[in-house]
Symmetry: C2
């Protein structure tokens, strides 16, 4: 007599990553504004209120998603050589990763990018610059400037060539 499975495993518990995956899929497929709590919940097969077990509110989902995208940048870029080249490579990678998901763009413009991955990337850039002889203060300000340019350029749109041109000018202005 085959034993019927008792405790049909009601469902493995949800995951923050699953929720972020679903949010990004919605954003990519249906544009900004599609990453609704209710739609995310439906996509993962849960009740809307379940999302609140994992995130305190909708804005937190957006922040976590942005930090995930930022995290992909650090992993993708390795770099040696002069600091200008490294910063340039990271800024180019940051832009390309972020605009790969146009639906997520309003999200990253709405939050001053924070979170573990953004912090790590920032640290890395600061180290790069102080390692090249910059003052802590100068490096911090340079990081702000480059970040502002990247975010603003994303907000403005425009192609890679324009972006790279401006980035080179920014780096030129930063040279001591």
């Amino acid at each position: 007599v085959p034993v019927p499975p008792r405790n049909p495993q009601p469902r493995p518990p949800l995951t923050e990553a699953e929720i972020l995956d679903a949010a990004l899929v919605l954003l990519d497929a249906r544009g900004p504004g599609a990453a609704t709590i209710r739609r995310i919940a439906a996509a993962v097969g849960a009740a809307p209120s379940t999302v609140y077990t994992y995130f305190p509110d909708q804005a937190a989902v957006g922040r976590a998603l942005v930090d995930r995208l930022v995290g992909e940048v650090g992993d993708a870029v390795t770099c040696d050589g002069r600091w200008e080249r490294c910063v340039e490579a990271l800024a180019l990678a940051l832009r390309s990763r972020l605009i790969a998901h146009p639906g997520a763009v309003p999200l990253l413009l709405g939050v001053a990018p924070a979170g573990p991955n953004a912090d790590a990337l920032g640290r890395r850039l600061i180290d790069l610059m102080t390692g090249a002889g910059m003052t802590d203060r100068y490096a911090a300000r340079s990081l702000r400037l480059v970040t502002a340019y990247v975010l603003g350029a994303i907000a403005l749109g425009g192609d890679l060539e324009q972006f790279a041109w401006g980035l080179r000018r920014v780096l030129r202005g930063l040279r001591t």
Copy 2:
């Protein structure tokens, strides 16, 4: 016998300006997200659907409001001297006008600034630069760079000193 006023002037028709005024007051008083169609309508004493007589949708209200704020910049700044000084003054004025209404910041980050006032300000900056001997192409790219920096810096927050420091570096990078 006093004649009772016939035709009690049912109400002077609404105005686009009145709607934008109400939206800005809401944004200033109650933060981003407060400029709801329904709240704007209530503030001007009309039904929500009346707003659609003046604007095609909510996004259009946002765009018009941003362009109004941008318009205040051009009016406020007069300038003579080297082009760097003029661009610097305009960028400083732009930032200060825009962050004077923190509730409106998400609005201007959400739209690539367009509209008559933004166009006029852009033209003015372009003329300034070509007048100083820049190529049309170089001037257009410089405008993009400065605009991107201003928008990004607003998104990032930070104080005037940090902003001015970065702006000087940007202008330095643009010097031929």
